[in-house]
């Protein structure tokens, strides 16, 4: 899709600015001719490419998409539907899903919104791995592209999973800044400290890490990588003060907290924001040990 401008503005638009210069006439006409030639050449190429595309199977991608809907008789048994989607340079899995929905089956259901890896709503299980649909290029995948809902979460419909448990775990770590000691104006924070927590603040709550974690899959109470990372974000923030740090460590040291992590790195591997989740969890384990030693 391109931003188009009415043709007529070409002659007129320079009047809009103070850009008029003496060199306009001859040089510009030569340019315009060059431009028209190039445009014509590109049109010819495009037509040729499209004609080729239409006759060639290579330029479509085959998607195998998980389907399930408890409300619809034909879909109550989970199944995979196949969609052949015409490919264009730069096409992502989300683009392909939208195409399949808009052109073939409007009941195909998935969450998506920002298309730029920040709303976190389109984490999916794509070719056997948790990824964001909007950030995953089709060309990086093996065909047929298998698209499934995130594992270890209840499927609501097609690719939509129930996120309630994920949100509950995030809420369980008191995910909000707490300090009793606020100055009148801004609080200072060192560049180093901001740098230390920076990666942890990038979490977009997509749920990919929780879905990839074996421990979380087996232990429903385990806080899980996302929530522990959220706690890390506050525990390591120097602005909160020591009392709060201790309180946060208590939450993290509980039975289903940091000690459940078995350092499998699957969360770190799938995180679309490259947050070093496993490292953060290990660092908190070390903090916990230090914390306990203090009382001896």
């Amino acid at each position: 899709m391109s931003t188009q401008v009415p043709e007529q503005t070409e002659e007129e638009s320079s009047a809009d600015t103070e850009s008029q210069s003496q060199s306009q006439s001859a040089a510009q006409q030569a340019r315009m001719q060059k431009k028209r030639d190039r445009a014509a050449e590109r049109d010819r190429q495009k037509e040729a490419e499209e004609a080729e595309k239409a006759s060639s199977e290579d330029d479509t991608y085959l998607l195998k998409v998980f389907r399930y809907d408890p409300e619809v008789e034909g879909k109550q048994e989970p199944r995979f539907d196949e969609f052949h989607v015409p490919y264009h340079q730069g096409m992502t899995v989300l683009d392909a899903l939208m195409y399949a929905r808009d052109e073939y089956d409007s009941s195909l259901t998935f969450r998506h919104s920002c298309r730029q890896a920040v709303c976190g709503s389109d984490a999916l299980f794509i070719d056997g791995r948790q990824r964001l649909g909007c950030k995953t290029q089709l060309s990086d995948l093996e065909e047929p592209v298998r698209i499934e809902p995130l594992p270890h979460q209840e499927v609501v419909k097609d690719l939509v999973v129930d996120m309630e448990h994920f949100y509950d775990q995030m809420h369980a770590v008191e995910p909000y800044f707490q300090t009793n000691d606020l100055p009148e104006g801004e609080q200072l924070q060192s560049r180093e400290n901001r740098e230390k927590i920076k990666m942890s603040t990038r979490c977009i709550w997509c749920g990919a890490c929780m879905s990839s974690c074996n421990i979380a899959a087996g232990d429903n109470k385990y806080l899980g990588p996302a929530a522990i990372n959220k706690a890390y974000r506050f525990t390591m923030d120097e602005r909160e003060g020591e009392d709060m740090q201790e309180h946060r460590m208590e939450i993290l040291e509980q039975e289903h907290g940091v000690w459940r992590c078995q350092t499998q790195f699957s969360c770190t591997e799938v995180c679309p924001k490259d947050i070093p989740l496993t490292e953060h969890i290990q660092e908190l384990k070390r903090e916990a040990v230090k914390n306990n030693l203090k009382f001896w």
């Binding site: 391109s2 009415p6 510009q28």
Partner: protein, 618 residues
């Protein structure tokens, strides 16, 4: 029926700030949002939040820059409020723990932004919106504020007096996306619309897919005027293939724009001899398209934005997110190559008409953030002014709705006081396809004013809205064949991008109105193929599409009426700002199923000074 004192619709920055403020005022407040709060589009804001925090700067200077940036179409009381309140709001965010970028001395960093006379844009890398959204959501969790997430509000429950300024808003009707049930929400004190921008009216946009202008469309059909809708901001640096935003912070940090010949055209071609790349967004967008149109674009489509000379360290420190975006969505490594960029739809300066307290002409109905128009941006928004807008006016709307006393507003709303009749020559009849008075339930336009004799109790108004909405959803679901929303939406988006873009001309605008009319006719035959009551996105998008149609029409009508060149609105036939005729706001009211055009003068009188329109040069 759910009951709360204050209902906030939408959970982006403005909605969250409003809810927190209402709760602090003692109200029982709930948020109803079609997305979970952390999915809101505020998260995609990159550049920063303007506030006069430092010695050498002042709110007065910020206000002057904003008024000049608005091309003298902003209302002074709103602009002054924005600039006075934003420092306190930024400090508040810092106290809530927002991880702002820091200077060596530990204070929050500020950087230069386009159209600002002082480096007053406070930021968190190039992900300020993400940090802001999550920080405010955390405060929501802390306070235990109730959120109905994945509930789509489809209708306002408004009383039906003949004159909109006498109507009252009693609540909303929402559709539970997960279960397919409709329910009513009675708001004892007020409803706050914070539904964000309408970017989906265009096909090349930085906006999320969810940004379909639901709030403005609902308010419009309930009787609130839409203000200055023609002023759509096109951001000069979006990635050509997807519309993904490359923050103005890149230019703020020293990024340079080049044309195909390697000329730094902002200077070398005289578009902005003083400020160059940091001229305001409308100026840079036009310059880029002029380069392309005159044959100096790359691939005849875009220009280059180069930040390599800033050095890897500075780029990673301040703009790291941009490196990822350019790599993931355009396949370009900006540490090694310049980025391709072109203008894309980014922001709506216009929206639901409110005063500086966030209230509309319908009592009990408020709006804040991008869906609203308190008129702080006029005809062109300066970068870094959207985030303070949503915190400042979100907070004010929340407090006021919950009963807080903010004093009498200086800005008038609705058809009261000083207004003038407008006229515009349209090639087709705008508005509903069916004759006025005919009940068009399927598209949500029927059943508002004067549907019943005598006035009802608040509960009865809410119940009636629910009944009307049930019928609409049922009608949509019962239809077995017809047209699908995706086709209708795509047609309108394409026409808007072709005809109502950076450069506009009469013939194109009229063509857009014809296309919108066609789409309205097709919409009469719309149907929902998915009959499921579980997570029915087909139904949601069908309802959204009707909102897209109404807003596309309002934008185009405003653009056709305003035959001058001001801010982001350029008209081929009229390339001059005409203060003698056009120092006024374009207003559209939905009356009997038709848009009615009228005007209201701009308020240039501030608290202690009156802003004199000057030639805007950078």
């Amino acid at each position: 029926m759910h009951e709360h004192d204050v209902i906030v619709v939408g959970a982006g920055g403005a909605g969250l700030r409003a809810a927190i403020a209402a709760q602090e005022e003692g109200a029982d407040v709930a948020i109803v949002s079609k997305l979970h709060p952390v999915r809101s589009h505020t998260g995609a804001a990159e550049g920063g939040i303007n506030a006069a925090l430092r010695e050498g700067d002042s709110w007065e200077q910020h206000a002057y820059d904003t008024m000049k940036g608005s091309d003298y179409l902003g209302d002074a009381p709103a602009i002054e409020t924005l600039c006075q309140d934003s420092p306190e709001e930024v400090i508040q965010l810092e106290h809530w723990g927002l991880a702002f970028s820091r200077d060596e001395d530990g204070r929050m960093s500020q950087r230069p932004f386009g159209g600002m006379s002082f480096p007053r844009t406070t930021y968190a890398g190039a992900e300020t919106g993400h940090q802001l959204l999550h920080t405010m959501y955390e405060q929501l969790v802390k306070r235990g504020i109730q959120v109905y997430d994945e509930w789509y509000v489809t209708r306002l429950a408004v009383s039906d007096e003949e004159d909109p300024t006498e109507r009252h808003c009693h609540g909303v009707v929402a559709y539970d996306i997960k279960s397919g049930g409709l329910d009513a929400f009675h708001a004892r004190d007020g409803v706050i619309l914070a539904t964000g921008g309408p970017g989906q009216v265009f096909d090349h946009t930085t906006n999320a897919v969810a940004n379909t202008g639901d709030g403005p469309a609902m308010a419009y059909r309930a009787g609130v005027p839409l203000e200055d809708m023609e002023f759509i901001q096109f951001h000069p640096t979006t990635l050509p293939s997807t519309g993904v935003l490359i923050t103005e912070g890149v230019r703020g940090e020293g990024g340079i724009l080049y044309n195909e010949d390697g000329e730094r055209f902002m200077f070398e071609r005289g578009y902005a001899n003083n400020d160059g790349e940091l001229a305001s967004r409308d100026v840079v967008s036009r310059a880029e398209l002029t380069e392309v149109n005159e044959g100096r674009g790359i691939e005849d489509e875009y220009v280059h934005l180069d930040m390599r000379h800033l050095g890897e360290e500075r780029i990673i420190d301040r703009l790291e997110n941009i490196v990822h975006l350019a790599e993931d969505f355009e396949g370009v490594d900006p540490l090694e190559q310049p980025m391709p960029v072109k203008p894309g739809q980014h922001y709506a300066m216009g929206g639901i008409e409110t005063d500086e307290n966030g209230e509309t002409c319908i009592s009990g109905l408020y709006a804040a953030g991008e869906c609203a128009c308190a008129s702080v941006h006029g005809s062109n928004r300066l970068g870094g002014n959207a985030l303070p807008e949503l915190t400042v006016f979100g907070k004010r709307a929340g407090r006021h709705a919950a009963g807080g006393d903010l004093g009498t507003a200086e800005i008038e709303t609705g058809k009261r006081g000083d207004w003038e009749v407008g006229e515009v020559d349209t090639p087709v009849e705008p508005g509903d396809v069916s004759a006025p008075g005919e009940d068009v339930v399927a598209d949500g336009s029927g059943g508002t004013a004067a549907a019943s004799g005598g006035s009802l109790s608040p509960d009865e108004y809410v119940q009636r809205a629910l009944d009307v909405e049930r019928e609409r959803v049922q009608t949509l679901l019962e239809k077995e064949e017809g047209r699908q929303h995706a086709e209708i939406r795509a047609d309108v988006q394409k026409s808007m991008t072709r005809n109502v873009n950076v450069f506009r001309e009469e013939a194109g605008l009229k063509q857009a109105l014809r296309d919108i009319r066609d789409a309205r006719e097709k919409y009469q035959d719309v149907y929902v193929a998915d009959k499921s009551s579980t997570f029915n996105t087909d139904l949601i998008q069908t309802i959204e599409t009707r909102n897209v149609l109404d807003l596309a029409e309002a934008i185009t009508l405003g653009a056709l009426a305003r035959d001058e060149f001001r801010g982001a609105h350029w008209r081929k036939e009229n390339q001059e700002r005409r203060d003698d005729v056009w120092l006024k706001h374009t207003m559209l009211s939905w009356e009997d199923g038709r848009p009615d055009l009228w005007y209201r003068p701009v308020v240039l009188e501030g608290e202690n000074k009156t802003y004199e329109p000057k030639v805007r040069s950078y």
